[in-house]
Amino acid sequence: MATSELEAVQPSLASELVNDFSIQVATVNGSGSQSSNMVLLRSIFQMGIPVSGKNLFPSNIAGLPTWYTIRASRKHYIGRKQDANFLVAVNPETAREDVAALQPGAAVVYDQPLQLETLRSDLIFYPVPFDKLVAGISADAKLRKLVRTMIYVGVLAHLLRLDLAEVESAVRRQFHRKPKAADLNWAAVQAGLEYARQHLVKRDRCRLERMRETAGQIIIDGNSAAALGCLFAGVTVAAWYPITPSSSLCESLLDLLRKHRLDPATGKATFAVIQAEDELAAIGMVIGAGWMGARAMTSTSGPGISLMAEFAGLGYYAEIPAVIFDIQRVGPSTGLPTRTAQGDLGSIAQLSHGDTRHVMLFPGSVAECYEHAIAAFDLAEQLQTPVFVLSDLDLGMNNWMSQPFAYPSQPMRRGKVLSADDLQRVGEFARYRDVDGDGIPWRTLPGTDHPDAAYFTRGSGHNERAQYSERPGDYAGNMDRLRRKFDTARALVPPAVRERPGAGRVGLIAFGSSHYPVLEALDQLRDELGIDAGYLRLRAFPFGREVAGFIESHELVFVVEQNRDAQMLDLLRADLAPELAPRLQSVRCYDGLPIAARAISREIEAHLALLAPGIIGRLTATPA
């Protein structure tokens, strides 16, 4: 099928891209492409090659364009890559635009009738007659439609040299509950493969080669990982309201609980999962359950967080444990419900009216979605306050490879709870008294069988005996104690991680799903600009002392985040000694796409270009 144009752009073998490229699959949602993409991802993973998959989908159930990006990276770069090397164009609606967006030299596998080869002369085109190929698979039009996208798996298997045994095993795994469907899909893969063998001449630069970099690793999405964390944290009450992109967290949790938390003796549940009427009710249930002493959680996204504001303030002020997962999406308002952002931290830090401060955790990987879920329940009970876990759509809904998760090494930390025996021994109980000087009072649980156990919980002003009070001293004293408690939290939350030591005076701060792109961007800065920047990854708010320490030891600190308003930078600035604040420089990405390494390094490069050469030299020099 070669044309003279194609020959003109045929690259030399010297620039072959082995295990270092990305494939963008442009399809229509509801077309079954999800399974095909999973098979591709799994096949690469099973070949031992680091890989990531990102689903870019519309807020719609069927019939609108959707893109899936698979990136293979021998260097373990599993963040989003801006430019695709390989396009699979099977959606007529977007095919032309998708082709137009490619960089010269990229390859396009496309549905032959779309005639995309006429659009550009600087790309490599692989036409595939999907309908003709799928016609031989089944006489049933419905089935043909379901397996149609598997054709491109076969085509790519040939072009990219996917290990066929791994492809077949991925297909069988994907359809393990339906052997007939597995056979049919495998037949479609083979049809694509056979066609490619006979009709396509390999001219692109992308190739896969077996590695040993994924042995023992798992593939999981962040929401499933967080649900696993909740399971092993011993959650007993979950209340939730469906909202993209968080729904799969509680759905996955419910599945896990049904499998692993029915009492073996009675078959009864050691958990309650309640689908509430809205997010207001969901958080109300969590607060009620937390007050009762249960490990209770909810998961939601931005609009739900807005609705939870009043209860969040009650939880803070009445000091009730609660765990709230916010799988962030693009706001404000409905925003882009199926796109990712880190845009809620500013509002959550002070969610509700009055002087309110909330503890936030920022998982930076699927493993941390799991670990922070466990930590969140411990922290909520230790601190007697709502704890928010801020994941996002990229982390929560996309599949990531990871080391397997570790079993909790510590028993559950249930915090300061007085039993009836304790009450008998201590003789006196004042719910909101700072007995230990850490701002954290002792509590009793409803049902404690002691005449002095009960207290009255209220969101109105109260003294240390939990009695209604409007006395100025009582109010101010209580608020000061809550601030002390928040200071105590600094040392209890997961500390920031010094991911890269760096060798100059330039530092980088990031958190959450920016982590992997940042690692890649750091390599770009080092390899392309000779800057070896230090990197501190934040994992929680309030910030531990190590955060100010990192900023003190760097003169220029880039704060990377996925929102418009530099929300993390604002929180840092408010927390730092004023003289340190000018060292912070913002790097932001807020277009709804997962942040890409190139966007980070480019922005840093642009900032540095504005500085006088002498300053750059001083900032980047390795200290003697």
Partner: protein, 344 residues
């Protein structure tokens, strides 16, 4: 009807003082105070363990009242209109405790209508009391959504929107014990409260509770005078605790007997209406007709003692979820290993 022999001590050996609450800060003569007293009486006479009770409320005059009864019970004065969700979480987390929720007509019927409806629907085991005075007291006398059409504020402003009937709503939405009473009707309210405490499921009691400060004037349909003049008691309500004999004799067919979950009995002696409290349709019809006549119909409108409550539907273990030990809520390492192996 109570059969307490020794009024000083109840069946669990406690005296009335063990059921007292804090000193009320509501207005003198407020209907809510009478309701608090009846709750104290009912719990004392039934021998409810005060430490086994949780009392929850939203915001408003009504919602302050849990502080005025059962000091030895845990209380939670939560968020305006959101008592039902807090109660849901609390009572799912510990289904061994007895929940008493106190709300008002503003708290339930305006801001909290959504949570009210869904709580009825779930049949959460909760005694849900609406202290219903037709106005917002704490904000000085605005109409609430239970104010009757044409009733007037002190300023003379007339209400031109129809009221929502909490009892009709509760029946429609799935509550399994629905009654209306009057704070001034000691005997009936006490019997209804006792039956509600014995019921397993949502027991919704709308108690007309006049606001002496903002809604007790001529032109109000929630004043003491109006309710006294227009109350139409559907039945004479008697409660017979489990294991006690019925001491009152009834003509055959003159009373309906409902056996409640714990074996206690609710006796509803007919007064003028031939009424079946197990029929939703009959109850809704009766409530509608009574409204049309401008009467304040009181009594037990609907009871279904057999329908499973929310905690039964959730198939919860017998022990409180809140205090299950780690060994029962954290699966062993083998479970994690197996899950991890499946993700490789």
């Amino acid at each position: 009807m109570s059969t307490q022999v020794n009024p000083k001590l109840n069946r669990i050996g406690l005296e009335p003082a063990d059921y007292k609450g804090g000193k009320t800060t509501l207005c003198a003569g407020c209907g809510h105070n009478a309701i608090s007293e009846r709750i104290i009486d009912a719990c004392f006479e039934l021998g409810v363990h005060p430490q086994r009770v949780v009392k929850l409320s939203g915001i408003g005059c009504s919602s302050k009242s849990p502080a005025y009864f059962l000091n030895r019970a845990f209380g939670f004065n939560s968020v305006h209109g959101r008592m039902p969700s807090v109660a849901t979480g609390a009572l799912v987390a510990n289904q061994t405790l007895l929940g008493i929720g106190v709300s008002g007509d503003g708290d339930t019927v305006s801001i909290g209508i959504g949570q009210f409806i869904h709580t009825m629907r779930r049949n959460l085991p909760l005694v849900y009391i609406i202290e219903d005075n037709g106005v917002y007291g704490l904000t000085k006398g605005q109409f609430s959504a239970t104010a009757d059409l044409g009733s007037t504020l002190k300023t003379g402003v007339s209400n031109d929107l129809p009221p929502l009937d909490t009892c009709a709503l509760a029946i429609l939405c799935g509550a399994t014990f629905v009654a209306r009473s009057f704070s001034g009707d000691k005997r009936q309210l006490l019997a209804v409260l006792k039956a509600a405490l014995a019921h397993r499921g949502t027991a919704m009691i709308d108690v007309i509770s006049p606001c002496v400060t903002f809604n007790d004037h001529e032109g109000s349909t929630k004043s003491y005078k109006y309710v006294k003049e227009h109350e139409d008691a559907l039945q004479e309500v008697d409660f017979v605790p489990a294991g006690e004999e019925i001491t009152v004799e009834y003509e055959p067919g003159a009373a309906v007997e409902v056996v409640l979950h714990d074996g206690s009995r609710l006796l509803l002696r007919k007064l003028g209406h031939d009424f079946d409290p197990t029929s939703k349709a009959a109850a809704l019809d009766l409530l509608t007709r009574s409204h049309e006549k401008g009467e304040v119909l009181t009594g037990v409108f609907y009871v279904d003692a057999a329908k499973p409550d929310f905690n039964t539907l959730l198939n919860l273990v017998d022990e409180p979820l809140a205090t299950l030990p780690e060994a029962r809520v954290r699966p062993p390492q083998a479970v994690l290993d197996q899950i991890m192996a499946g993700l490789r």
